[in-house]
Amino acid sequence: MQLDAPPAELPPAAVPARPARSAPTERRTRAPTSARQDPAVVRWGLTLAAVAVLGVLVVVPVVHVFWEALADGPAVYWNNLVRDPATRHALALTLTVVPIAVGLNLVFGVAVAWAVARFRFPGRSLLVTLIDLPFSVSPVVAGLVFVLLFGPRQGIFGPWLYAHGIKVLFATPGIILVTCFVTLPFVARELIPVLEADGPEEELAALTLGASGWQMFWRVTLPNIKWGVLYGVLLCTARAAGEFGAVHVVSGRITGKTDTLPLRVEKLLQEYRTPAAFAVASVLTSLALVTLGAKAWLERAEASSLLTPDPSAPRGERSKERKDEAA
């Protein structure tokens, strides 16, 4: 929506086009006509029902996590988190696994989005389908396939690796592998539509002006897809930190060695240390809430960057030109 005044050099004849352009905005802000307005009883009834659904489904669980975690006071809460070496180790393991998995999937996501969105080649749509595959595989099955590959006795590569002293299963490499598997689609899925919508014109212009491939990538492509990258990394991080099923299968659940934070929650509950389980869960819940906040912020930041008519927002400029032409 372009709300700014038409450029000064526009001939007077084009000026009447302005009300037409701002019409959609007017329509949205104007009060709904009685033809579109539901009776007040229906409106308030449905709103209350929806709020109740969200309350029971989402708000109550979040409040409950922090309530239970802090049930015995902040001092116990803090001790539950910090004084337990196994919990500390789980946090360290999660903080090791997540950046590696997100980094690997970021590189893959950018590479595959470039190949898929900018080139036509045989098997292209098959490749796109393959990227989505991990989403439709149950986490337990994802863990199982890596056990079949790396199991120390029965796995395909397992016995050979084991003989050479390389531990994949029941160790950090296995956890990283399955985390990569389950979070593989996130960045790629965000970037492919963004790159396709942008089109290659600016990159071709950069090349024509003598930029090298890498210069084009860092100066033109990356700034254009930065919101998509951030968004994909955000979703990928949230999922990687919270992955349970696949890690459950491949980690062997060795306390103080291969437990990530979500596995630590289960372990503490099994040990009947419920307040400690909720304390760890509250850390993961805070991460989820931060993710939601960051997501909302990103969406707003992207929207406002597209509205600003400056040279760094080429999409906004372009759509404005198109509208001017149409007028």
Partner: protein, 274 residues
């Protein structure tokens, strides 16, 4: 977008080569190991592994609970999407953001909270259990937690279509003498059906594979509250890799059929979203 000649833009072989290498290593190789392991069983052995009473009970529960949860999600999700798009109320933006919480919250946390909320002494269980509603260690508990994990799908598929609906259509319906209810069922609902179905299928697919949240609430009762992924895990713990793989192949097969259905549905609903 226009196809571009390979010679003009750089990086085609580098990016495609790396993508194929990464995908093969991480996705194709492990999944083919799964198929390879399954083919090491004779058809009769395969059938025996996937048709034990325990396995059949697990599949029935997985499909039934996922279906019930997805239906519940479709109804509740449509309600929430409708209210978020069409009505103004305090804290609307906050509620809108909270819809995504089930995606962002680790499934283990969801399982922990639901197991604690719905036990007889829990915040919600204390009202439901006395009424005879078994909300813990029961199939209903599984349905409840699966409803939570799949909740955002329907809201997020219906919302954009609802926003894109032309107000003129409704006004025209009113001018032509339709009641609000007629307008809703004849004018507003039909274009939303593909989106609702897509969301339903997505939350169904998600529920089929869900594991982390379910093990917290299900209790561990074979043939009663054991879903298919839990059975696969149990077989793995017994080092019965071949049986586990056979069960996994069946689950994978169901997921792929659903994936194909979702792709068709998404193409159908895109016609309305545009």
């Amino acid at each position: 977008m226009r196809p571009v000649s390979r010679r003009v833009l750089p990086g085609f072989s580098l990016t495609l080569g790396y993508s194929l290498f990464y995908l093969s290593l991480l996705v194709l190789l492990p999944l083919s190991a799964c198929v390879l392991k399954a083919t090491s069983l004779s058809p009769a052995e395969f059938w025996d592994a996937v048709s034990t009473p325990r396995a059949l009970a697990a599949y029935r529960l997985t499909l039934g609970a996922s279906l019930a949860a997805a239906l519940l999600d479709a109804v509740l999700g449509f309600l929430v999407a409708w209210v978020l798009v069409r009505y103004e109320f305090p804290l609307r933006r906050l509620f809108d953001a909270l819809v995504d919480l089930p995606f962002a919250l680790p499934t283990a946390v969801a399982g922990l909270v639901y197991s604690s909320l719905y036990v007889p002494s829990g915040w919600l269980g204390r009202y439901l259990v006395p009424l005879g509603i078994e909300t813990y260690h029961s199939p209903l508990a599984i349905v409840l937690v699966l409803t939570f994990t799949g909740f955002p799908f329907v809201v997020r598929t219906v919302q954009p279509v609802l926003e894109a609906l032309e107000p003129e259509l409704e006004e025209a319906a009113a001018i032509l003498g339709a009641s609000r209810w007629q307008t809703f069922t004849r004018v507003l609902l039909p274009p939303l059906v593909p989106a609702i179905l897509t969301g339903f299928a997505l939350s169904f697919a998600r529920a089929l594979g869900e594991y982390g949240s379910v093990i917290f609430v299900a209790g561990n009762l074979p043939e009663e509250t054991e879903i298919a992924p839990m059975l696969i895990y149990a077989r793995l713990e017994e080092y019965a890799y071949a049986e586990a793989t056979a069960l996994a192949v069946v689950l994978l097969g169901i997921s792929f059929v659903l994936l194909a259905a979702i792709n068709l549905l998404e193409r159908w609903s895109k016609k309305y979203a545009a």
